[in-house]
């Protein structure tokens, strides 16, 4: 009898992405459990992980972690391929695009708080656009823009501060030094 063995070779980079994505997924689940009055307003705690990854390991790793979080988070919450999933995906893609530019801002002046605010606005902007084009094709949706924008600003600042604090307190590991 022969055993066929399928072996996936993984790199330390893969392990790191998986570990960070797991943290992001955990926070996404907590996020979903927090009750908030308006659908669409969420703290976006998992973006704290994205910000830290962005600062430590660069944009490509952040994109992996964010993408895995959207897909696995969608599967765990039972909304994979539902409208909620596509809203989440659009938000994640747009904030990653904005973050790609934000991280190029001079570090001396702009830190994680700036990245977080910009990403939060990109996130809600993309979601509003998708909702307007697909889910609620009516301009009445834009009545909610001020509320969404205020929530984006508030949670953007809070998440950015948490990320900045964690970055300051967590010592960089040896793998980071090689980068």
């Amino acid at each position: 009898m022969t055993h066929s063995v399928i072996k996936l070779t993984t790199t330390p980079e893969d392990h790191r992405i998986a570990r960070l994505a797991a943290a992001a997924i955990g926070l996404a689940l907590i996020d979903a459990a927090i009750p908030l009055p308006l659908p669409g307003v969420k703290p976006g705690l998992s973006n704290i992980v994205t910000l830290i990854v962005l600062a430590r390991y660069g944009w490509a790793t952040a994109a992996w972690v964010s993408g895995l979080r959207v897909i696995a988070g969608g599967l765990l919450l039972g909304q994979f391929l539902s409208p909620g999933f596509f809203m989440s995906l659009t938000g994640a893609v747009l904030s990653l695009i904005v973050l790609a530019f934000a991280i190029r801002l001079p570090k001396r002046w702009f830190g994680p708080v700036s990245w977080s605010i910009l990403a939060a606005f990109a996130h809600i902007g993309g979601q509003l656009l998708l909702a307007r084009l697909w889910l609620i094709p009516h301009n009445g949706l834009f009545y909610l823009v001020p509320l969404f924008a205020s929530a984006a600003l508030a949670f953007g600042i809070i998440n950015g501060l948490i990320a900045a604090r964690l970055l300051a307190e967590l010592p960089a590991t040896e793998t980071d030094a090689s980068r």
Binding site: L105, P106, R108, W109, F110, G111, P112, V113, S114, I117, L118, F121, N139, F142, Y143, L144, V145, P146, A149, S150, A152, L153, G156, I157, G160, L161, A164, R165, A168
Partner: protein, 124 residues
Amino acid sequence: MRWLALFRPGDWLVAALGLAFCATAFPLAWRGGAAEKAVIKRGGEVFAELDLSLNRQIDVPGPLGITRVAVEKRRVRVVSDPGPRQYCVRQGWLERSGEIAICAPNQVSVQVTGGKEAYDSLSY
């Protein structure tokens, strides 16, 4: 205080810009603007324009009597009309831009306007 130390100079700028955006978004989004309207005509002339976001009822006097028009939940309809065949009453709620109800005997018409007008006029 420790938290404030985490702000870098540019972060304040970004936060201020975000705040300015929110502050301008409130009046822009909530001052009504291009809301849909119901245009009521009598004898071919505009009698009243009703904002569809406000529920109300209006009586339009015509040659045969009173035609009553009501706005509710962003829709408009002719509630009652003195005309013999009641076509405009039976048409029910009008909600899409371009839809029109014509009470010909009493010379009253109600049409939804505004928004993106896909049709010049809609009647059934």
